[in-house]
Assembly symmetry: C2
């Protein structure tokens, strides 16, 4: 006799745990299933340990600034193994929050691997069976290592294994200059490793604006050499791995493969769910309801193949959980798009990219080279470009490589979501001295190019007559 539940959630990561927050409002009869190890991707092997390593690296770069100014004098050494120990200590701290949350669920949780027997029925690898009115698949994703690199696996780490290293090898090739590859490449370089970064694509960090990208690349190259449009081949030279691209090569101790992630669906036996699958063998679903076509199945989180960022995974979970037992699933609008690479400078994309915009557009621009606060921080590098509709001033999108860019990106996402115009955003306070003033400069250059009437005089609302 299978266990009968209203909702079964496969995967106790961010998406699954968030789904439960909504499901709890609908039923007490739900079951969370996870094969382990427990802890979200974010806390175990993603956002959190990577940000800890970046923070250490960033702090060390401040030591260098003080030394260059002769303000801090003396010799010091970096203990990488203490650095890695610190990363794992904080990682464990964050993992524990998720583990505690799961433990508190008691009987609502089973640690097991689930696979479909039939559309509403799951088999667990502990022998149990579960029948559910709705099933949420939130099994996450895992880093990919290309098949042709199999023979070098002893020298390749992904984020799944990077943070387990007791110390960091001396020389690295980081393959894949997306957000994570960039962050870890720069972190290791600042920590004293010899790092080369590679990507087969012409642009890094998810940027699409060529001018912002060019400034970003210039700045990042000061930390470590980055080779774009580089199709790398690996071979073994003694104890080293030779990375070859074009007519160049470099021999390194270790490879960080950051070339993408794939959905964890291998063990689910999706065929038995009898739902339509797409060309990647993933269920066809509606991102506004998270519901799989013609099935009482919902997707949530990284496994859906959409943008793999935590707040989107959490929204997936919220939507899937909310809709799981609805007769007519509610369609939700997704949030303003925002992407952040936490390198120095931060690389951010917000709203529409320049290439996606159809309307005639003006581009407001600021370089951070002379931006006051950025100069004070000795982080005066990068550029911000904001795109606005020429005939109205409506802010449509922005890309930036900027100090404290993560915060500017939030402000811009907020303005875009509010359908604000350049000339309206200028009426809000920009405190001195902040990097936000850099954004204001960009907005002012955009305002001057607008093809619509704007009030002359101060960027302030006028009192009613």
């Amino acid at each position: 006799m299978p266990r009968q539940v209203d909702v079964a959630i496969i995967g106790a990561g961010t998406a699954g745990l968030t789904a439960i927050k909504e499901i709890k409002n609908l039923t007490k009869n739900y079951l969370l299933i996870d094969r382990g190890p427990l802890g979200t991707t974010c806390s175990r092997v993603g956002c959190m340990p990577s940000k800890v390593l970046l923070q250490v690296a960033h702090d060390l770069s401040r030591v260098k600034v003080l030394k260059a100014l002769n303000i801090y004098q003396g010799d010091g050494t970096i203990d990488l193994s203490e650095g890695m120990r610190h990363v794992r200590k904080l990682r464990d701290y964050f993992v524990n929050f998720a583990v505690e949350e799961i433990k508190e669920m008691g009987d609502h949780f089973i640690q097991a691997e689930a696979s479909f027997l039939s559309p509403g029925r799951l088999k667990l690898d502990n022998g149990e069976e579960v029948e559910a009115k709705a099933i949420i698949i939130a099994t996450g994703s895992s880093p990919v290592i290309p098949k042709e690199w199999d023979e070098f696996k002893d020298r390749i780490v992904t984020t799944d294994s990077l943070f387990e290293l007791q110390t960091l090898d001396k020389s690295w090739a980081v393959i894949g200059m997306g957000p994570l590859g960039l962050e870890m490449g720069q972190a290791m370089a600042l920590l004293g490793c010899e790092v080369h970064g590679f990507d087969k694509n012409p642009m890094l960090g998810g940027l699409k604006d060529e001018i912002v990208h060019s400034e970003a690349l210039k700045s990042l190259q000061k930390s470590f050499p980055i080779h774009l449009k580089a199709d790398v081949k690996l071979s073994r030279i003694g104890s080293k791995i030779r990375v070859s691209w074009g007519d160049q090569h470099r021999d390194v101790d270790r490879i960080l493969a950051a070339v993408g992630r794939k959905a964890n669906v291998g063990s689910l036996n999706l065929k038995a769910a009898r739902c339509p699958l797409d060309e990647k063998s993933l269920p066809v679903f509606d991102p506004e309801t998270m519901k799989v076509k013609d099935a009482a199945i919902f997707l949530a989180g990284d496994m859906d193949g959409q943008k793999m960022v935590l707040h989107e995974a959490a929204d997936d979970g919220r939507i899937a959980g909310f809709n799981a037992l609805q007769e007519h699933p509610i369609r939700f609008k997704r949030k303003v798009k925002i992407g952040i690479t936490f390198s120095s400078p931060n690389l951010c994309t917000v709203g529409q990219s320049l290439k996606d915009i159809k309307e005639p557009v003006v581009i407001g621009e600021v370089s951070f080279t002379k931006q006051g606060r950025s100069v004070i921080m000795d982080e005066n590098e990068g550029m911000l470009r904001v795109y606005a509709e020429k005939t109205t001033g409506l802010i449509l999108g922005a890309e930036l490589a900027a100090p404290s860019g993560e915060h500017l990106a939030h402000l811009l996402a907020h303005a875009i979501g509010q359908k604000q115009k350049v000339q309206e955003l200028l009426r809000f306070p920009f405190y001195h001295p902040t990097v936000e003033e850099g954004l204001r400069t960009a907005l002012r250059t955009a305002k001057k190019q607008l093809d619509c009437k704007v009030d002359p005089g101060p960027d302030l609302d006028r009192c009613e007559a």
Copy 2:
């Protein structure tokens, strides 16, 4: 024969220089008068040098973090004179922007001290006379040293003299725990000085929310002892200054007096302008037009006795410049109120204070003690409280002591200015892991207390049916 101009601007600081940006659109016949030294208060003795010193101090605190974690090992010394040299070097860099701007004005600028001869007529101390259709007074402010401290002046610095010190004395009393006193007190403490902070008021940094203040004080006290409600008396003990309060005392090398600023109007001979003066002997004016009552005189910047922050001074200048030659001056709404103390944690006030709010209110709250990114930064201290109208969710104000609080304050000012509700602001992206997620937590606690209908389910807009 006096020089005839349309507009005379007295004071080449931020307010005066900004006024000219508007005046240029109206007339080419304007004259800027400044007695020197050239350079804005902000760049010479205010925001900029203080932020440079804070940045150095903050960077040194990162060294301490790395050492405590054993990641950075070795002995080092702090060279305070190199620190002060760096402060002056960057200060000169910033001052130079203003000086260059003034130089480019050519004949539009005279370096001289101006005083009124009659309502539209000025006398300069180089013997010239100027007759103007409108006069903008933008003479700024200067730090006050109470009269009873006159005999200790050799041991007292203000921000006018602090950054001229070749090095920093060992022991300090910082009197006045407003934004500047706090910033400099904490900076000097982090730089290794023995600092005690004093204020006769019960709350510091412009905060009015007692709970936020209590968290702020707890955190700041880790850098240096702060004595509030302390009415200090000074006396001389050998080469030291004895600071006495209540039944306690402390002997220090140097005093930083940060007890307030007064308008620079002493040499203006305002009587001759024949405009109405208030109890502080300052012209009575309308802050929405910046026009002095019954006179073709406008005020701008610190000298108007309003909140002394740069963006407000610049707005003053914009309004005064725009209105200087208008037959009917335009009334402008001032920006959402925002105040930032750049200490660690940042202390910020946005919009209305809790005490000013008349409506029934809910308070959203977050402690940064366990906030993810703040933990990673090892700056997990402080608290944010956001005030919203109970019956609607309308965000009215916020106070915070928070890591990266300056950025949260901008986002909150933006939301308040847009008349956003708690439940609406929650629909914008909060990227992971950022301190902005702390704000989201506070918004969620506010949302739960609202006395109005909010959509159940995900914090997302619903698609049209």
